[in-house]
Amino acid sequence: MELAFPEKPFKTHGGAHVPHRKNTAQMESAVMPPPTQVIIPMQQHVGAPCTPLVKVGDEVLVGQKIADSMAFVSAPIHASVSGKVRAVTQVMLSGGQYVDALVIDSDGEMKISPEVQPPKADTRESFLQAVRESGLVGLGGAGFPAHVKLKVSPDKRIDTLIINAAECEPYITADHREALENSWAVLSGIYAVKDMLEIERVIIAVEDNKPDVIETLRKMADNEKLDPGNHVRVLALHASYPQGAEKVLIKSCTDREVPMGKLPADVGCIVMNITSVAFLANYLKTGMPLIKKRVTIDGSAIQYPQNVIVPIGTPIEEVIRFCGGYKAPPKKILMGGPMMGIAITDDSLPIVKQNNGIICLDEEEARLHEPTACIRCGRCVSGCPMHLIPTMLEKYAEAKRAEELQEYSVMDCMECGTCAYNCPAHRPLVQAIRLGKALVKSAGGKK
């Protein structure tokens, strides 16, 4: 082996010890029966929205491609139930923008489309085409189309594939359950990507608060039969938020720092979420595209917290009803975890591809804190994984000083929220930094 595996994680800066609250980690995932209706937004990924390939009144089958786009950065969308297209409507996404959505009435039969056939994926080209057709986007929450990420320009040599199973957000255990319930698929998917992209080293990165995941995956990776060349190893990372953030993860696993505005491929790495690779293995075997998702339903307002495997497009309220409904009136509903998740306005929104958790908080937990004056304690500085000075960024954003914001590298902030989590004065640091980024962009600043 030319490239050695790290014995222990490399040092990273900052971070916070957020509470884990992994209440659902030891519970088998429940499979939700098909809902009577699904709402499938035409944008469930980073990039161009799709246009529908079916019209109102059409019959659709499970796995049938119902929307696609000509754009490179995009991913097709498939029917998650069999039934009839009832309407084209508009839904508000978690980010606040409206997109078209197909409403499909389920016939309850889940008839599988004849389109669903194992794809041909024996060359790099056909493999990437298959990844595109599968509709796969980054399932860790980012929603970046997988085929775009895997299409590395030929001048960049990738030597390390990092499988992200850090899952550092509190509550969320979707990847944890995937690793335990679907471990064969994890290794099979890893091998597919590794062989097609000719990568010599694969590091599965898991936070050390998941000893069962580490043990399960290690057993496979250390098995001579399953991993003959010993190309795959599990690396236990310190459970410290935001360990699963791409740049932090690469630093922990390889000691390489992705330069500002560059991609992991620029330092020879590709990072894939563990559920993404496991899905890929299943897709290559069966041809069933991305039509369902494991979602952690938890939070103080949920009756029976658990992981649920949900057809994409299922309204959130239906999933919550499946989990016994609300035990207390919800005051805040999050798509994603409490550190980076987005608060939504309505529980009738559908589950989309990159959802990994729905966290419902009761009144007590949703309470907003009044900000007080910054006392310059430095907790935001010592916590920032990007070595920025959040309190300065906040001041410059408030004063609308685009030049200083740029000088203090506002664009490097990944909005992980560690600064605001740490802040004893409850300053709205992330909010101010987002404003600062918008200021820099509108000032036409160079990156």
Binding site: C377, V381, S409
Partner: protein, 323 residues
């Protein structure tokens, strides 16, 4: 949904730290030294501490009210300032002078610059310096420890250890054990080294302060006194060095926000302290050193800005040189 949901930006989870809890931790850390001062200097010490705390809180409340700002006395920072101010006064001082000091600290130094987090120098130390300039004799009127048990009033007044050293009366210096326990002349809260160290350890364990500033400050003093052939332990335990390095130089508002800045700041404090002790006309220089370094904080922070993630070291240096 019938019920409206709260929509707010992430993160939706907070660590639970608040300014009030931090200040409460500082008050807890100051308690051993406060108890020691009452044992060493009697009930007058307690009266002085209560006077300073009361007048600081009242000054904070009234000045915020006059300025039509919200009431901030419950963040407890005024209580901390009050205790620190009292710790910087000789026990013989009149309560009226102490109240004057409180007003200087809270109104002039803190609130007139915008309140907590905005003052550019340490309020309690600045008030001490104002009092030293205004009442030089009263501010250096030291008494021996346990003076309240001594019948003969002539035997009460004495000089501080650093004062004795300056006068060349090295033979009258207290021994190291007395210095450690605080059985020496000095300001209320500065004498009992053991109590101050205990408070410092508490603050470090509770992660209220990082050990960088006290260690670099004390380390610099130790190295310089070693090089200058002075008694290292005596230098470390005398004057207001421990009080200053643990509780005043670590003041959030007036010390650098990043680690490298804190190192520069603390080393600067150490060098200035020793320069004043060795060559100045004053016996002690902790207050002046910290205040001087306080003023330099914005420049130190600019000089020691952390290298953002992903920026190569050489490149960061080059960029720094261009600025």
């Amino acid at each position: 949904m019938e019920q409206k949901l709260i929509v707010s930006p992430s993160p939706h989870l907070r660590s639970g730290a608040t300014t009030q809890k931090i200040m409460l931790d500082v008050i807890i850390a100051l308690t051993p030294a406060a108890i020691a001062s009452c044992i060493l200097f009697g009930v007058q010490a307690l009266i002085l501490i209560l006077t300073c705390v009361g007048s600081c809180v009242l000054a904070e409340y009234l000045s915020r009210r006059v300025m039509k700002r919200d009431n901030t006395i419950f963040d407890l920072s005024a209580v901390v300032t009050g205790i620190l101010l009292a710790f910087n006064l000789p026990v013989t001082i009149s309560p009226l002078i102490a109240i004057f000091g409180s007003v200087v600290a809270i109104v002039v130094v803190k609130q007139m610059f915008g309140g907590i987090g905005q003052n550019f120098v340490n309020p309690a130390l600045t008030a001490r310096i104002v009092l030293m300039a205004s009442f030089p004799a009263k501010m250096s009127n030291w008494v021996v420890p346990f003076w309240y048990r001594i019948g003969n009033p002539d035997a009460i007044t004495t000089a501080s250890p650093l004062g004795l050293l300056k006068q060349g009366a090295a033979d009258q210096l207290p021994n190291h054990l007395d210095m450690l326990l605080g059985a020496r002349a000095g300001c209320l809260g500065e004498t009992c080294a053991i109590a101050l160290l205990l408070g410092g350890i508490y603050l470090i364990v509770r992660k209220v302060i990082s050990p960088v500033i006290p260690l670099c400050y004390l380390g610099t003093v130790a190295v310089i006194s070693l090089l200058a052939g002075r008694d290292v332990i005596f230098e470390l335990l005398s004057g207001g060095l421990l009080l200053g390095s643990i509780f005043m130089a670590t003041d959030y508002t007036t010390s650098p926000i990043n680690r490298n800045g804190r190192i520069v700041f603390a080393v600067g404090c150490g060098i200035l302290t020793m320069l004043i002790r060795m060559f100045g006309s004053l016996p002690e220089g902790v207050s002046f050193s910290i205040i001087l370094m306080n003023i330099l904080v914005p420049h130190i922070e600019r000089m020691t800005r952390p290298r953002p993630f992903g920026v190569k070291k050489e490149k960061a240096k080059k960029e720094g040189a261009q600025e």
